[in-house]
């Protein structure tokens, strides 16, 4: 029994909007007759951070993959100018990126230029300058000659973000970017993306597991369950304890702490220890 509630969004957003950076209309993805994304509609405004939340298997990753053409979909996915997005328009930071053995950080970041290369697949001087300025921007210069396979989780995630930036796409997709990181690195990666959004004017669409982080960083949230959007709007509107508890299948509370929303599991009622079998 899945609740189909829609948190009220009317009136909370400005009536005049610029052209969306990305819009999706009735996007559906099926694997072997099983529909895993069932008609998702969304609009990502320029400069906005839109968070996609929902339990494992809700279809968040599949939806993001369909945007970059990694999953066959029906429906329409279009950029502001109506084109279907390509690798020069939308950059994906994957959930579990492959770190090839023996590849340096600089080589890895240069891979981001793939979509911009000509027929001879040779980087121009401009491509190299973009890669080095990205390395500088993310303060990765000291790592540039290190092998990516030897980086720690936090360093690796920064390098993947650097590669995505080198793609020079107006839209950045993040697929659970912090799932493998400790708390400190989670915050620093998300703050990095937030900074870039403000300074470079990126639009961000991020599938997120950490609901408190989603509340802090996203302008709007979309809650997906079983491939359908069940709630949409500002974080405060979407993060309702009853709704979340129903969707995630466990009692959750939402606490305001210092003006920010924090989502926590409800304290567990301890069961009595089972009696020993006779």
């Amino acid at each position: 029994m899945s609740p189909v509630l829609t948190a009220s969004t009317q009136g909370s957003e400005s009536a005049i909007r610029s052209a969306p950076a990305l819009s999706c209309r009735d996007v559906r993805v099926s694997f072997r007759d099983q529909e895993v994304v069932c008609g998702v509609n969304l609009e990502l405004d320029t400069g906005q951070w839109l968070g996609i939340i929902g339990p494992n298997g809700a279809g968040k990753s599949t939806f993001l993959r369909s945007i970059v053409g990694l999953a066959d979909y029906s429906g329409a996915i279009a950029l502001g100018d109506g084109r279907t997005p390509g690798a020069a328009d939308v950059a994906l930071v994957p959930q579990a990126p492959i770190m090839p053995k023996g590849m340096t950080v600089a080589e890895y970041v240069l891979l981001g230029r793939t979509a911009h290369l000509g027929w001879l697949a040779r980087e121009s001087r401009a491509d190299r300058e973009i890669a080095s300025s990205v390395l500088n921007r993310l303060e990765l210069t000291a790592f540039a000659d290190r092998f990516v396979s030897t980086l720690s989780g936090g360093e690796a995630q920064q390098v993947v973000v650097a590669r995505a930036l080198a793609q020079q796409c107006p839209v950045l997709l993040l697929d659970e970017p912090t799932s493998a990181l400790d708390l400190g690195h989670q915050v620093s990666v998300l703050e990095l993306v937030d900074d870039l959004r403000r300074t470079e004017g990126l639009s961000v669409l991020a599938a997120m597991h950490d609901l408190s982080a989603a509340a802090r960083f996203a302008d709007r949230l979309i809650l997906i369950d079983h491939g359908r959007i069940v709630a949409e709007g500002r974080p405060a509107a979407v993060l309702q304890p009853d709704l979340l508890s129903a969707v995630y299948g466990t009692p959750l509370t939402v606490q305001p702490i210092d003006g920010e929303l924090v989502v926590l599991p409800e304290p567990r009622r301890r069961a009595k220890p089972p009696k020993e079998a006779p």
Binding site: V68, P94, G112, A121, S132, L140, T141, R163, Q167
Partner: protein
């Protein structure tokens, strides 16, 4: 906030990042220069050694004299010049082309399959090409129009069937590196059996000829074989050189490669066809020469870089040097009789293969 444990760097950050990117982009010019010098040295050593010893100075003189617009008095006699230009040099050049081709083909297969153990021989490509070539050679289909010949075409058909079948087997059994090689083993066994059967149907002299070719020999009649191989080397070499960066993108996996803007299926198809054609052309002039495609890219990886940007071109250079060097042994070790060069490369390559297997077993678990 100053950190005492961090040394202060003399270079500004921007320069450091830039030079790192340049290194990543660069082709290892130094390594290429060293490679060329070693290749020339091995070439000279090869040209001067053999039953009829030729003096180094004379060989150099004759070579410079041959270059248009340069007149140098060659100190070689007419017989010596004939030996140099009609026997030694064609064989040397053929050895270099075959070695370079197998090295580049091996590097390309390794990149495309993301499998450091891929090699034309181990994938069954050589066996497939060999079967095709045996059919063409043994059954009177050896026709030619100008520089084009049916043998490479038949070899190419066999090579392509073998590599596609190995791929199909691997896809059915999951994408582990070992599965692909096992598919290759199956294909190699099948094609070798077919080859043996085909050779049995030939008369004795023809069978002996075909067998001696099959063992992997750099036998030449003047410049004919070089002429057959050269067009394939040029065309496939250019295609693979252009696609070397695609191989680097494929290292992050098909999904990420596609999200970066590469079409993995298209790149893979182009590279497999070009590498198979190159292998087939090499096999059709020199028979089955094992392990060059495995050993050579590994040496480059070990010494210089893991980037295919570097591995592909340097494998051509190192492969050419390797086979030219090994062929000196093939010609002189058992003089006056000759050892098939494929026998020596197998003696070197099989233990190398074993060591790579043994080492990777430890590093992956």
């Amino acid at each position: 906030m100053a950190d005492a444990s961090l040394p202060t760097t003399a270079l500004p950050d921007a320069d450091a990042a830039h030079s790192a990117v340049r290194r990543a982009f660069g082709m290892s010019i130094g390594a290429a220069v060293v490679g060329v010098v070693v290749l020339v040295a091995v070439g000279l050593f090869s040209a001067t050694s053999g039953a009829a010893g030729l003096p180094v100075k004379g060989v150099l003189g004759a070579l410079f004299d041959w270059v248009p617009l340069i007149g140098v008095d060659s100190s070689l006699s007419t017989t010596q010049e004939n030996i140099l230009f009609e026997i030694r040099l064609p064989r040397l050049v053929l050895g270099m082309l075959v070695g370079g081709s197998l090295g580049v083909a091996g590097a390309s297969y390794q990149g495309v399959f993301r499998n450091p153990l891929a090699d034309p021989y181990l994938l069954g490509v050589s066996a497939g090409a060999g079967f095709g070539a045996v059919l063409a050679l043994g059954f009177g289909l050896d026709l030619s129009w100008g520089p084009f010949d049916t043998v490479p075409a038949a070899a190419f058909a066999g090579a392509l069937v073998a590599v596609l079948a190995s791929m199909a087997i691997a896809r059915g059994g999951g994408a582990s590196p070992a599965t692909l090689l096992l598919g290759g083993v199956a294909m190699a066994a099948l094609f070798s059996a077919a080859q043996t059967y085909a050779i049995q149907q030939l008369n004795e002299t023809r069978a002996r000829e075909v067998l001696s070719w099959l063992f992997g020999q750099l036998n030449t009649t003047g410049w004919k074989q070089v002429g057959i191989l050269l067009p394939y080397v040029v065309v496939c070499g250019v295609v693979l050189f252009i696609h070397r960066r695609h191989l680097d993108v494929l290292r992050v996996g098909d999904d990420e490669a596609r999200s970066l803007g590469l079409d993995p299926a298209r790149s893979r198809l182009v590279v497999i066809v070009a590498a198979s054609l190159l292998t087939a052309a090499a096999v059709s002039v020199s028979g089955l020469i094992a392990f060059v495609g495995l050993v050579v890219p590994h040496i480059v990886r070990l010494l210089i870089s893991h980037s295919y940007r570097v591995i592909v071109p340097l494998s051509a250079l190192v492969g050419a040097t390797f086979l030219a060097f090994v062929d000196i042994g093939a010609r002189t070790l058992l003089a006056p009789s000759e050892l098939p060069v494929g026998v020596i490369t197998a003696f070197v390559g099989a233990p190398f293969f074993a060591v790579v297997l043994w080492r990777d077993r430890w590093s992956t678990t």
